[in-house]
């Protein structure tokens, strides 16, 4: 039995990390006004997590004014954060798929992303591939042998799920065909009704459907413990082939591990940044946050150090990764739409 669980360890690490900054000033910065922005639409899982963070922030800072609002997409929210003045302090949650966007965008996007202050991330480590029960697929081999199209419902071509599906195709030779335009609610109906037959999601998102027996998990995306019944499934790294696979797997791990990235504006002082990071650690250590966010004990938080290392690694290798990603995306789309890819 470890002395500290993951959240307590994070809180401790954040406290240690904040200590030098606090030491520069005899009186630690007290956040008085905090604006929390969810770049993802109201009602989504990420939005619920951000609102639970707001509640926890208010509990941690009872005297502070904590506003919560919905932003307008990751890239736009990021631009707003970069341009914001120091008051109020902003904690904006943006999707990890922004890394995919940045790799496909201009080098300027990566530079701009590096100007924000990273506060922490709530990861989505436990991504998996599912098939509907009525499709009859019970293994990856069944998917390979399928004679019907394998339709994967996704929100848009900018969603991480879309990119992940193409990368799975490119690395495993599967022929997953993404169909964009499904809102989260429509996605579940599409799966339950048999309109689409395969899904990619964090296991929390479809826990109810798996429990009902409507969805059958077929593959883990990461070779880490997921818990039953997922641990007996093959992991993507064991199925991935090709020279680009190691780079792509590392990229996917970075995106999933830092899925809901919390950032603050560049104009904050060192003390304010330290206070924000400490607040993040306090929030993720708050048991009520786990309950309210719906994440339970599977929070998957990364502190700013781990996040910066993960994101920094991707951005530093942008010139090398971007062409690999572009190649894999083209390959994945070709396979999904009945084409070929060497």
């Amino acid at each position: 039995m470890p002395l500290y669980d993951r959240r307590q360890t994070l809180a401790l690490l954040a406290g240690i990390a904040a200590a030098p900054a606090l030491g520069e000033d005899a009186s630690p910065v007290v956040l008085k006004h905090l604006r929390m922005i969810s770049a993802i639409s109201a009602g989504s899982t990420a939005d619920r997590i951000l609102r639970a963070m707001s509640s926890a922030a208010q509990r941690a800072l009872p005297a502070a004014q904590v506003d919560t609002e919905n932003g307008t997409g990751s890239l736009r929210t990021l631009a707003d954060v970069i341009a914001a003045g120091p008051d109020p302090a902003i904690a904006a949650m943006i999707g990890g798929s922004i890394l995919y966007d940045i790799l496909q965008d201009t080098a300027d996007a990566a530079t701009r992303f590096n100007t924000v202050n990273f506060i922490g991330a709530i990861g989505r480590d436990h991504e998996a591939l599912f098939a509907t029960k009525q499709s009859g697929f019970t293994s990856i081999d069944d998917l390979r042998a399928a004679t019907v199209p394998l339709f994967v419902p996704v929100a848009s071509v900018k969603a991480a799920t879309y990119t992940n599906a193409q990368l799975v195709n490119a690395m495993t030779g599967l022929r997953l065909q993404t169909v964009a335009g499904y809102a989260p609610a429509e996605r579940k109906i599409a799966l339950l009704s048999g309109e689409t037959n395969v899904a990619i999601a964090a296991i929390d998102s479809f826990a109810d459907l798996v429990e009902q027996g409507a969805l059958v998990p077929l593959m883990r995306f990461r070779d880490i413990p997921y818990g039953p019944p997922y641990d007996n499934l093959p992991a993507l790294p064991s199925l991935a082939k090709g020279p680009d696979a190691p780079v792509l797997l590392e990229l996917m791990a970075a995106v999933m591990g830092s899925d809901r990235i919390v950032v603050s504006q560049p104009s904050l002082s060192t003390g304010e940044i330290a206070a924000m990071r400490q607040l993040f650690a306090t929030i993720v250590a708050d048991p009520q946050f786990g309950t309210e966010s719906g994440l339970g004990t599977r929070i998957g938080a990364s502190d700013h150090g781990a996040l910066e290392a993960s994101v920094g690694k991707v951005l530093a290798a942008r010139d090398a990764i971007a062409p690999v990603l572009a190649r894999a995306l083209a390959c994945g789309v070709a396979l999904g739409t009945g084409g070929t890819c060497s």
Partner: protein
């Protein structure tokens, strides 16, 4: 059934749940009456307060809050003519002219009774079909959604009171404008010209505020400073309360429409109310003055608005799939407070459907009672000095739009669509077709493209699609027949006016130029992203040609428009928009500016 009744028993015998019901209802009424606060945003605001409550009591509070906010939300929009959402706009089209004629009490009564009737009936249906409704929902897929959206597009024909061709022009413009922004299926940014504020599309509240609220408020202002709207007694409100019963067949049809659309994910309240409004227009007697204060124009959208609540709970409870954005938040709230929904609900909390259904019913009825008692006070809002009302309403509408999308560009969108709305109003061109095109266009496009990928032509083998397409064919035939019958009559107009004359030539030419430009630009969009703008533009251009010929033949306009602008109002409007762009909340202070100006005493007429 036992579990359902146990839900009712628990609700009326548990003090905490009863208290939650009353508190949620009162809070919901207050939220609904506040401009720009929807049931959805009220839920978001209430969520932190229910954490820690007993789960079922928390659920009761949230359900009653959402239900009562839906009912009361349309009242100020109709009385002031300043809707802050597309769904409110449908009721305001006829509610405001009636209120302006001194029938505010009747308007409030009709809104409350219709919405309550729809809500209570849909809750009853929810209770009845909960045990087996899930299977029915799963029979409806994307092709059926596409077919429903097509029905919605045909509603343009029904609300085209300025003539079918002009209606198609304006509806096509709405559909074209709805394609602005990022295309989710290809990632292409359409018609944004690099402007980041419209990369995710235009703001619906800004479009509604500009297109509907701004022209109505300016017209109200142009009539002079004195308020002439009647005060209302409870007796006047009671007259309105009986209206849905007097039009029970229309209320029933609209309620069914609202319920069905409620449980279809992706369609939502806006589609429900506008389809119901269009249905009322095409199915009632030709002499009913839609757009000029037809009570049917209130009953239909409000019954649909109430009934879609019960429909939206159906997939939420039975499948764990939200039927609307409000239900998505409700579903999240249920998860947070520890209530399980979906198929496992029948074993985990079997009394939940009963609790939800009966809470809806009781909250709706309680809202009705409270609002009827408060009706005289509500109606007096509309008899305030027009300058105050105009200032407050403009600020409320633009601030609501700003809160929905907090960007400087939102204020600009309100301004641009305000100008378009005024131009259309002066030209006596009905604006509802634009809203229908704008709301239904994206749903139709997305569903059609997904259907094409997954089903192809096999979509037409699905019974649901065949039934809906069959209904569309029948409805088109019916509309054409009615139009022939109405050809010699005056015809109802969406803007409360007679048919447009040559004054419409300018706006029609402007829209034709827009369509031509869109055709040229959209040819460059690959991957299917150009299809919808191309189809909308070609249809709009053809219709514009037909409408121009008809307009030239029609001769001069029959009436001059009464809109009068003055410098003070222009300054006020510009200041409101600039302030909203800079600091949205501060715009709420603007009404105070008018309060310090010398005001004439409002004139009221007792009803």
């Amino acid at each position: 059934m036992t579990a359902t009744l146990s839900g009712l028993f628990a609700l009326i015998t548990t003090p905490s749940m009863l208290l939650a019901l009353v508190a949620g209802t009162i809070a919901g009424i207050a939220a609904g009456l506040a401009p720009g606060v929807s049931g959805r945003s009220a839920l978001l605001m209430a969520l932190p307060f229910v954490l820690g409550m007993q789960p079922l009591a928390a659920a009761v509070l949230l359900i009653s809050l959402h239900a009562s906010a839906q009912i009361s939300g349309t009242v100020p929009a109709a009385l002031l003519g300043a809707p802050t959402s597309a769904s409110e706009a449908a009721t305001a089209v006829d509610g405001y002219p009636l209120a302006a004629r001194g029938q505010g009490g009747r308007v409030v009564g009709a809104i409350l009774a219709s919405s309550t009737l729809g809500g209570v009936a849909s809750a009853a249906v929810l209770l009845l079909i909960a045990p087996f409704g899930g299977r029915f929902i799963l029979a409806i897929g994307t092709p059926e959604i596409a077919a429903f959206a097509a029905v919605g597009i045909f509603a343009i024909a029904a609300v085209s009171s300025s003539g079918l061709a002009i209606g198609i022009v304006v509806g096509a413009a709405g559909a074209l404008v709805s394609t602005i922004g990022f295309d989710s299926m290809t990632g292409i940014e359409r018609f944004t010209f690099g402007a980041p504020d419209i990369a995710d599309g235009l703001s619906t509240p800004a479009v509604v505020a500009g297109l509907i609220a701004v022209p109505e408020l300016l017209r109200r202002y142009a009539r002079g400073p004195r308020g002439v709207v009647a005060t209302a007694s409870i007796r006047a409100t009671a007259v309105g309360l009986l209206e849905p019963l007097r039009h029970s067949w229309l209320a029933l049809r609209s309620g069914v429409l609202g319920f069905v659309i409620g449980f279809l994910p992706g369609l939502g309240t806006n589609v429900a109310v506008w389809l119901a409004y269009g249905h009322a227009m095409r199915s009632t007697r030709p002499e009913v003055p839609f757009g000029q204060g037809a009570i049917e124009g209130i009953i239909a959208p409000e019954t649909a608005n109430g009934a879609k609540e019960g429909g939206a709970y159906l997939p939420t409870l039975l499948l764990g799939v939200p039927g609307s954005s409000g239900m998505a938040i409700m579903l999240g709230a249920f998860a947070v407070i520890g209530i399980r929904v979906g198929p496992t609900m029948f074993t985990a909390t079997p009394q939940l459907p009963g609790t939800v259904g009966f809470t809806m019913m009781l909250a709706d009825i309680l809202t009705l009672v409270i609002c009827v008692l408060a009706a005289p006070l509500m109606v007096s809002l509309a008899s305030l000095d027009r300058r105050i009302v105009t200032a407050v309403s403009l600020c409320a509408a633009s601030t609501a739009a700003y809160f929905a999308l907090p960007l400087a560009g939102t204020a600009l969108q309100t301004l641009v669509f305000g100008a378009i709305g005024v131009a259309l109003q002066i030209a006596r061109i009905a604006r509802p077709p634009f809203l229908i095109g704008f709301i239904v266009g994206p749903i139709l496009e997305s569903a059609l493209r997904r259907t094409a990928v997954i089903f192809g032509w096999r979509a037409f083998e699905r019974p649901g699609v065949l039934i809906i397409v069959g209904i569309v064919v029948v409805v088109i035939g019916y509309i054409l027949l009615r139009r022939r019958q109405q050809a010699n009559g005056p015809g109802p107009l969406g803007d409360g006016a007679t048919r447009p004359g040559r004054i419409a030539i300018g706006p029609l030419c402007g829209l034709a130029i827009l369509f031509i430009a869109a055709i040229v630009i959209s040819r460059g969009y690959g991957g299917g992203a150009g299809i919808m703008p191309l189809v909308a533009s070609v249809a709009g251009l053809v219709a514009a040609g037909v409408a121009l010929v008809a307009t030239l033949r029609a001769g001069p306009s029959e009436h001059r428009h009464g809109l009068r602008l003055d410098l003070r109002l222009g300054v006020l409007l510009a200041t409101a928009l600039v302030l909203c762009a800079a600091v949205g909340p501060i715009a709420l202070i603007l009404p105070l500016v008018n309060l310090v100006l010398p005001q004439p005493k409002p004139e009221t007429i007792a009803s």
